[in-house]
């Protein structure tokens, strides 16, 4: 694990990330591993537990002022449920929080999710370092956006 790598980009304020499983899905092995790994890599991690609604996910992300939301589903409902999160973000005008996906997402769905602004979309077996690098670069983009807004 590359703990603290690139943290200088974040001016002493570590990456803050919300982890959520927004559908009706109890497969939490992956998200629990990632929560620990992200924490070990120096991120501030919020895990909202199982069964939050898309509304709750977006509310929490906005209230907690996170850099990124990481969504995980392994029940095949990502095209419906991830989209709801993305749509809510759009309708509320939130554009400085990155939305990153993961789970059992078929190749064919990835471009469609990208189009909704959901990046990553990693499957089982992806090295944690790959996921952390992706989050770090997306979070850096968001920080730049936030700096411009201020």
């Amino acid at each position: 694990m590359e703990a603290g790598k690139n943290q200088s980009l974040f001016k002493g304020k570590p990456i803050k990330i919300l982890l959520a499983k927004p559908g009706i899905d109890g497969h939490d092995r992956g998200i629990l591993v990632l929560a620990k790994a992200f924490r070990d890599a120096g991120m501030e991690v919020i895990y909202v537990g199982l069964l939050p609604t898309p509304e709750e996910v977006v509310d929490t992300a906005v209230n907690e002022d996170v850099d990124a939301i990481a969504l995980s589903l392994l029940n095949g409902a990502h095209m419906t449920v991830f989209k709801k999160v993305a749509d809510l973000m759009k309708s509320r005008g939130v554009n400085d929080i990155a939305v990153i996906g993961g789970g059992t997402i078929p190749e064919a769905d990835k471009p469609k999710l990208e189009k909704m602004g959901i990046s990553g979309n990693y499957g089982p077996g992806t090295p944690i370092s790959t996921i952390i690098e992706h989050i770090t670069s997306r979070a850096a983009e968001m920080r730049k956006l936030k700096a411009m807004e201020e």
Partner: protein
């Protein structure tokens, strides 16, 4: 707080003493033969441990197991403590049941599939439900959008079950339903259909999973707090023992515990601890252990560390028999038998180089057979990503048929019995399980340990350790972190169309428009009153609500109102 039971700590100490005696033969050999050899060949020291983090030695001999192993720890098949198998002739007499789990799309799809299976001689039906059904949500709940029919069939009301079993005579089949939180409701629906068909209740045969403890531990599909679900399961146990003696109301499942990331020993210990809890619950409800415990069956995982899995299954049988006899006062042999279904590990499957999964599944299936399983589901090679294709399911079934018909492993019971390594490992798995039983007792029992998040944290720690070891290359998955092929793309997969959702929404709205609303609200009110009375058995009230076409969610909502919902303890 009850007084702590010293049974577990005493047994644990006994096993520790038994298993950790010095082996002077080994020590002399390691010093005089192994060490010089390693030095000469430049052998690199590395850790050899299994999933349970038990260190493995270079070689095992008779000195590593107790002298009275055969007499005291093994016995013969069909005899206490059943380490070598539960039946005297094992697979010669009765081959394991090749039970392939299925269920998808609409009730009509599932009905068609069930009839197809019956036509081809299958009498053991097995049904998977979709996520909304498992969580007690109807198809018209906004939360169910996009999830209908995805991981199994959707059931929102009795009408759906009527379609699933349309034209199927319930007196001629046995039905296994993989359902937990709403198990009482689905059982009531099954009974309602039986009644409509005129089948006597004592003829209704089948199984519901209904192992709610493992839901909080691993699969995470609950509706209410644990005590509420346990109370409803108690009601079902009592009702079924009296009315539907062929209905297996709990299948105690380690499968999901393992898939959630546990080690083999954790799967063994937590599953049996759940089992002991249900035994205590039945006894507390006034049932005779020899009457209800034989209705309890188990469901284990078979993963990729071959000997560890075999040892786990052998240890499970011995522990169950011993504890049921010594601690719970079982008198009949039948009560002591640990009967179990096994499924090969989904977690070990990879989307990379998918045909490799056929090999993994074969090895895991063989371990289950050598471990003495009563029934077996083999995973399909394309299952890392989604529901399996027909061709892949066929190969998975053929894998079992080849093991059964070609290899000769069924010719004799427990062919690995007496292997120094297997016996030593069986003893060590048993000891480590008792270490957990002792720890759980110290925490006030399995329910308290689960509510405190202890069990979940133990599993999460194992799963994290495994992931880090994979990333560091200390554990290998071929095609994932070794022997990788660049530029691979996942297979095409089976997709469920949105048709299922539309179909279900239409039927539910028809059910709601046709039913007698007065009858529905009356039944739900009576159920609420029954739920509020701890000593009342809720089953007859659930049955009445189901028969009035109250929906799955409406019935679940009564419980939500009475018992509240559940927020899991912090695990990470």
């Amino acid at each position: 707080m009850e007084k702590k039971d010293s049974y577990w700590s005493e047994r644990y100490k006994e096993l520790k003493d038994q298993n950790h005696r010095q082996n002077t033969d080994f020590d002399a050999w390691a010093e005089g033969t192994l060490k010089p050899w390693n030095q000469k060949t430049g052998y690199q020291e590395r850790e050899f441990t299994n999933s349970s983090n038990i260190p493995i030695k270079e070689i095992y001999s008779s000195k590593d197991i107790p002298e009275d192993t055969e007499k005291r720890l093994l016995g013969l098949p069909g005899k206490f403590p059943f380490t070598r198998g539960i039946y005297p002739n094992m697979y010669r007499g009765r081959l394991w049941t090749m039970r392939m789990f299925s269920g998808f799309g609409t009730p009509e799809d599932t009905n068609k599939r069930l009839k197809y299976l019956i036509k081809h001689g299958e009498s053991g039906l097995s049904i998977a439900f979709d996520m909304p059904t498992l969580y007690g949500f109807d198809c018209d709940n906004p939360r169910s959008d996009g999830e209908i029919g995805k991981c199994g069939v959707n059931v929102s009301s009795l009408k759906d079950m009527e379609v699933i079993f349309n034209g199927i005579d319930l007196s001629k089949v046995s039905t296994s339903m993989t359902i937990n939180a709403p198990a009482a409701i689905l059982t009531a629906m099954y009974i309602a259909i039986g009644k409509k068909q005129g089948v006597p209740l004592d003829q209704l045969a089948g199984t519901v999973q209904a192992d709610i403890l493992k839901e909080y531990i691993a699969q995470k599909e609950w509706i209410y707090p644990p005590e509420a679900h346990l109370r409803l399961i108690r009601d079902m146990m009592v009702y079924c023992t009296e009315n539907t003696p062929k209905w297996n109301y709990i299948s105690i499942s380690g499968y999901h515990i393992r898939e959630a990331g546990s080690s083999a020993v954790q799967e063994l210990a937590f599953t049996l601890a759940d089992g002991f809890y249900y035994v205590e619950m039945g006894k507390k409800a006034g049932l005779d252990v020899d009457e209800f415990a034989p209705r309890l069956s188990f469901f284990f995982n078979s993963s990729i560390n071959f000997f560890e899995e075999i040892a786990k299954l052998r240890a499970a049988r011995r522990i169950w028999a011993r504890v049921l006899m010594e601690k719970y006062g079982a008198k009949k042999d039948r009560t002591l038998l640990l009967r179990f279904h096994t499924q090969t590990s989904g977690y070990t499957l990879t989307w990379q180089q998918p045909l490799n999964n056929v090999i993994r599944t074969t090895i895991e299936a063989l371990a289950a057979v050598l471990g003495g399983t009563q029934s077996l589901h083999t995973n399909s090679y394309d299952e890392a990503w989604a529901l399996p294709s027909e061709e892949a399911v066929k190969i998975a079934l053929r894998t079992q048929q080849i093991i059964a018909e070609e290899t000769g492993v069924i010719d004799t019971a427990d062919p690995l019995g007496g292997s120094y390594y297997v016996e030593w490992l069986t003893n060590r798995m048993e000891e480590e399980a008792f270490r957990y039983f002792d720890q759980i007792e110290r925490m006030g029992g399995i329910l308290e340990a689960v509510k405190a998040g202890y069990i979940q944290k133990e599993i999460a720690a194992t799963s994290y350790r495994r992931q880090i070891r994979l990333e560091e290359g200390k554990e290998i998955m071929v095609g994932v972190n070794k022997h990788v092929e660049e530029g691979e793309q996942p297979l095409n997969i089976l997709r469920i169309s949105k048709k299922a959702q539309k179909n279900q929404l239409e039927r539910l709205s028809e059910v709601k428009s046709r039913r007698d609303e007065v009858k529905v609200s009356q039944a739900l009110e009576e159920l609420e009153a029954a739920m509020r009375e701890e000593d009342e058995n809720t089953m007859p009230y659930i049955l009445k609500a189901v028969e009035a076409y109250a929906t799955l969610e409406e019935i679940s909502n009564v419980g939500r109102k009475v018992f509240g919902s559940w927020k899991e303890p912090v695990i990470v």
